[in-house]
Structure formats: structure tokens, C-alpha cells
Amino acid sequence: MDAERNPFGAAASADPAAGNGRDRVLEEIAVRIDGDTDIVSARQKGRVLAATLGFSSSELTLIATAISELARNIVLYAKQGEIVLRVLERGDQRGVMVRAHDQGPGIPDIRRALQGGFSTSRSLGLGLPGVRRLMDEFEIESRIGQGTTVTARKWKR
């Protein structure tokens, strides 16, 4: 996404090459995350938004679940933040973007946070490896003491 609009800059990025500046935003919804009921409303809004693109019901479930994991990280680690949901166009592809943004403590070791996790006893308990598997593209930027931004996209096939 627009790197220059990200207040945290590119401190650390798992996938810096993906999708920067090439996407046209067709629609955007922002959901404030202040508590666990916001997790539910964020994933419900994301499902409705993604449904307008004609994703299959299992893809909608994947997207809603990814939003749920990202929103929960905000509640657990930063207390509050925001989930931005977008309908994107890149060339002749359309898709959805989910961006979770907070000004929480940041993730000290992103590589570790993305490791393993193919079980319920997750590496750092952040659920990030799971989100990465559910979505097509995944980027994370985090600075200690400043916050974390996770961006994930799924394209309609």
C-alpha cells in the first residue's frame, strides 16, 4: 500500500515487494477496534464487503477468519486500533485488502512471530502465520513502542 502514508515507515517488512502503489481503491470501510465485540463487527463487515466481489462462501469464511485474528491481536496487544477494509483493483484483478493498524507496543521479533504456528500452540500466540496462510499477500510493519500495521490481500480468482 502507500508506504508514504504509513506513519511507521518500513521498519521491518515480511514482504515489501507485494502490491505497493499498484492498486486502485474502489471502496473503503474503517472499523474502530476498542474491544472484543468490535472483532465480531469487523469480520462481519469484511465478509459483506468481500461478498460484493463474488468470493465463494469458503473464501468469505477465510477472509472473515483472517480479519478476526488480526482484530484480536489489536485487542490483546494494543488495546485499540483500526481495521481498514478495502475493495481493490489491480489490473484486471479485484480483491479485498485488510489492514490492521495499531499504536501498541510493536512486535520485537517479527520473524519469530511469523514462524511455525501450524498448531494450536502457536509460536508467539499472534496468529500471524495463520493469517498469512489464509490470504494471498501479507505484509507486516512494526516498530517497538510505536505500533504495528499488518496488511493482507486476497484476490478473486
Partner: protein
């Protein structure tokens, strides 16, 4: 959104009606663990048919419910996991190991009555 818990003979049936917040799930866990003792229930069925998302927290809480109820001396079975939800859980690596599952309420009751009639309770059908 509070989950209604119905008593049906020796069993408790928790029938989830809509999306649940984390706090709702934790409340369900605590209520079931308490009621299984107060009502001297032999088994618990948690019907998740209405859940369109089972993320890591929901899965962990269902596991916790199952193991806590087992420590209380009763058996739990999760019923009604939808195909799309099952697909996503597998993608996420959420396997619910050690947690019995059944297709629907009817199969869940059949599972519990079979368990009840054979008192040697060790293995669970979904493997361990």
C-alpha cells in the same frame, strides 16, 4: 449474546444462536463447567451450527471446555461445524485434537449415549 443451555435428560445442550464475542465464549465455558456439576450432567453438546467463523480463540475455548468438562467427569461433543468453517480451520492448522465432534445434534446425542453405556472412558473418536 448469551448462549442458552438446555437440560435434556442427563445431557446439557448449548445451542449457539449467533456470532459470539470472546467474552461470550468465556462465559459459555464457565457456565457449562459450573452447570455440569450442579445438574450432575453426564455429557455436554455444544452446537456450533450457527457459527460462521471459528478462529483460534473460539477453537481454543472449545478445547478448554472439552477438557475442563472431562476433568469434571463428563464428556463433551462439538456438533455442527460447517464445511466452510472446517476448511478454514484446517488451513489454519486448528485441529481440535482430543475433542470429539459429530455431524449434528442427533449424532452428538448418539455419541454421548454410547459413551454413557460403556463406562471405560479413555479414547475419543476424533483421536488424540
Amino acid at each position: 449474546m448469551e448462549v442458552p443451555i438446555l437440560k435434556q435428560g442427563p445431557y446439557l445442550i448449548a445451542s449457539i444462536q449467533s456470532a459470539l464475542s470472546d467474552a461470550d465464549l468465556v462465559q459459555l465455558r464457565d457456565k457449562l463447567v459450573e452447570q455440569v456439576g450442579r445438574l450432575r450432567s453426564r455429557g455436554v453438546i455444544v452446537d456450533v451450527t450457527a457459527l460462521d467463523v471459528m478462529d483460534s480463540f473460539a477453537t481454543r475455548t472449545l478445547r478448554d471446555i472439552t477438557f475442563m468438562i472431562r476433568l469434571r467427569g463428563a464428556e463433551t461433543v462439538i456438533v455442527g461445524i460447517q464445511p466452510d468453517v472446517a476448511f478454514t480451520m484446517v488451513q489454519l492448522g486448528l485441529k481440535l485434537e482430543g475433542v470429539p465432534t459429530a455431524l449434528d445434534l442427533e449424532e452428538g446425542i448418539a455419541f454421548l449415549s454410547k459413551k454413557d453405556s460403556s463406562p471405560a472412558k479413555e479414547a475419543s473418536p476424533s483421536g488424540r
